[in-house]
C-alpha cells in the first residue's frame, strides 16, 4: 500500500480528536521531528512537546495541532497518536498560554540552581506555552467579531 493513505487517529484520555485519512504526517517525536508517509515501517515512539501537521489525502496542508507528550504507534497504513493533550488552534486559550509563558520565563530567568525551582518543569512549561502560542496563531481570526467593542 505504498501509494495509499494513512489513517491518522489522534486520541487523548478525554476524547478522540481526529480520525482522518491523510497522505503525510509530521509528528513531534521525543527525539526530534518525525515525518511519516504511507508504508512506513512499524514504529513506536514517545512524543515530545510540539506541533503535529498532516496533509489531507487531497493534498491540502492542515492547520497544526499542538501535541503535548504521549506516544505514537506507526503502522504502514495507520498512525495512532496517544497524546496527553492535543489541541486545535481554535481551542487554545491564548491568554492563558501567554500568562504561562511569562511565569515560566520569570522562573527560568531566576536561573538554575535557585531554590524551589524544578528546572525540568519550568522548561517544560515554557515549551508548552510556546507551542500553544505558535499553534494558536493559525486559528481563524474571529475574535474582533466575537467580542464587540474590541
Amino acid at each position: 500500500m505504498s501509494a495509499g493513505a494513512i489513517q491518522l487517529v489522534i486520541v487523548t484520555p478525554e476524547r478522540q480528536l481526529l480520525s482522518q485519512s491523510v497522505s503525510e504526517v509530521t509528528l513531534p517525536g521525543a527525539d526530534g521531528e518525525l515525518g511519516v508517509l504511507p508504508g512506513h515501517a512499524p514504529l513506536i515512539t514517545e512524543l515530545g512537546i510540539g506541533e503535529l501537521r498532516y496533509k489531507e489525502a487531497g493534498g491540502a496542508a492542515s492547520e497544526p495541532i499542538a501535541v503535548i507528550r504521549g506516544f505514537t504507534e506507526v503502522l504502514p497504513d495507520r498512525v495512532t497518536v496517544l497524546a496527553e493533550t492535543a489541541e486545535r488552534p481554535e481551542e487554545i486559550d491564548i491568554e492563558r498560554a501567554k500568562k504561562a509563558l511569562e511565569r515560566a520565563e520569570k522562573r527560568i530567568a531566576a536561573g538554575p540552581g535557585t531554590q524551589d525551582i524544578d528546572w525540568d518543569r519550568a522548561t517544560a512549561s515554557l515549551q508548552r506555552a510556546l507551542v500553544r502560542i505558535k499553534v494558536a496563531e493559525y486559528a481563524p481570526r474571529k475574535r474582533s467579531v466575537a467580542v464587540p467593542g474590541h
Binding site: 486520541v11 487523548t12 484520555p13 476524547r15 517525536g29 515512539t45 506516544f71 504507534e73 496517544l82 496527553e84
Partner: protein, 285 residues
C-alpha cells in the same frame, strides 16, 4: 378523623415533593448522557494504550519495573469511589458493601483507604478509617488531572514500598438499570499477554523498550483510574435517575390514594348534611 383541609394540605405537599423528584430525574438524565459520552470518548485512548503496553511487554522477556514488582500483600490500599450525594437509591450503599467485602477479605493485613466522593468519605470515617488522602467534589465533572493526581499518589506510595497492593472499588456502568460492582487491582500492574488475533508486529522502538515501559506504565495506571471515575460517575447518575423516577411514580400513587380518600370524606360530609336537612325538614313537617 382528618378533615378535607388536611387532605388538601398533604396532597399539595406530596405534589411539591413530586415536582422536585421529577426535576432531579431530568437533571440526572441529562448528566447521565454527558457522563456516558465522556466514558465512551475515553475508551479509544485506553484501548490503544493497553495495546501498546501489551506489545512492549511481549517484547521484553522479564519486564522489570517498580510498578510491576509483586510483593506479598501485607499492606493494602483500597480506593473507594462513591457518589458525592445521596438520593441515588442503593448506589452508595452497594459500593460500601462491596468495599467492606474487600476489607474483610484482607483481614489481618494493614489496610488503608482513599475515599473518592463525599458519601464514602463520611461513611468510612465513621467506620474509623484513617485516610492518607481523600478526594471530594471531583466526580461531578470528571477530569483527567484528578485521575492523574490520584494515580501519582498511589504509584509514589507503591514505589516507596509503603504499600504492597492497590485495589480500586467502583461501580461499572452497564446500562441505566444495571451496574456491576467491580474490584480492580490497580497495582502491581498485571502482566499482559498478547491478545489472540492481535498481530505481533515487529516494531522499531525509537527509545529503548525499558524507557517506553517506564513512561507507559504510569499512563496506564492514570487511565485505569480515569476509567473507573467515569464509569462510577455514569452509574451514579443512572442510579439517581432510576431512584427519582420511582420516587416520582410513588408520589403519584400517594396522591391518587389521598385524592380518593379526600373524595370519600367529602362525599360522606355531603351525605351527612343532606340527611340532617331531610330529617330536620321531616321533623318540622
Amino acid at each position: 378523623m382528618p378533615t378535607l383541609l388536611d387532605f388538601r394540605r398533604r396532597i399539595r405537599s406530596v405534589k411539591n415533593t413530586q415536582q422536585i423528584t421529577r426535576a432531579m430525574k431530568f437533571v440526572a438524565a441529562a448528566r447521565l448522557r454527558r457522563a456516558q459520552e465522556s466514558a465512551l470518548a475515553a475508551r479509544p485512548y485506553a484501548q490503544e494504550l493497553a495495546k501498546m503496553l501489551r506489545s512492549i511487554m511481549g517484547r521484553i522477556d522479564e519486564p522489570q519495573h517498580p510498578l510491576l514488582a509483586v510483593r506479598p500483600e501485607e499492606r493494602v490500599l483500597v480506593i473507594v469511589l462513591t457518589g458525592e450525594r445521596g438520593l441515588a437509591g442503593a448506589f452508595n450503599t452497594n459500593i460500601l458493601k462491596k468495599a467492606n467485602e474487600v476489607f474483610r477479605a484482607n483481614q489481618g493485613k494493614k489496610l488503608s483507604v482513599i475515599p473518592v466522593g463525599k458519601k464514602g468519605r463520611d461513611s468510612l470515617k465513621r467506620a474509623g478509617f484513617e485516610f492518607p488522602a481523600e478526594f471530594i467534589n471531583v466526580l461531578a465533572k470528571v477530569e483527567f488531572s484528578t485521575a492523574r493526581e490520584i494515580a501519582t499518589l498511589v504509584t509514589e506510595l507503591y514505589t516507596k514500598e509503603a504499600i504492597d497492593a492497590v485495589y480500586i472499588v467502583f461501580s461499572e456502568f452497564k446500562s441505566v438499570i444495571s451496574a456491576n460492582l467491580a474490584v480492580q487491582k490497580l497495582l502491581p500492574v498485571e502482566k499482559m499477554e498478547a491478545v489472540e488475533g492481535e498481530s505481533r508486529t515487529d516494531y522499531i522502538y525509537e527509545q529503548p523498550v525499558e524507557k517506553l515501559l517506564d513512561r507507559l506504565l504510569p499512563r496506564y495506571v492514570e487511565t485505569t483510574v480515569l476509567r473507573a471515575m467515569l464509569e462510577s460517575s455514569a452509574s451514579e447518575y443512572a442510579a439517581r435517575m432510576t431512584a427519582m423516577e420511582s420516587a416520582t411514580k410513588n408520589a403519584g400513587e400517594v396522591i391518587q390514594g389521598l385524592t380518593l380518600h379526600m373524595n370519600k370524606v367529602r362525599q360522606a360530609a355531603i351525605t351527612r348534611e343532606i340527611i340532617e336537612i331531610v330529617s330536620g325538614a321531616s321533623s318540622t313537617a
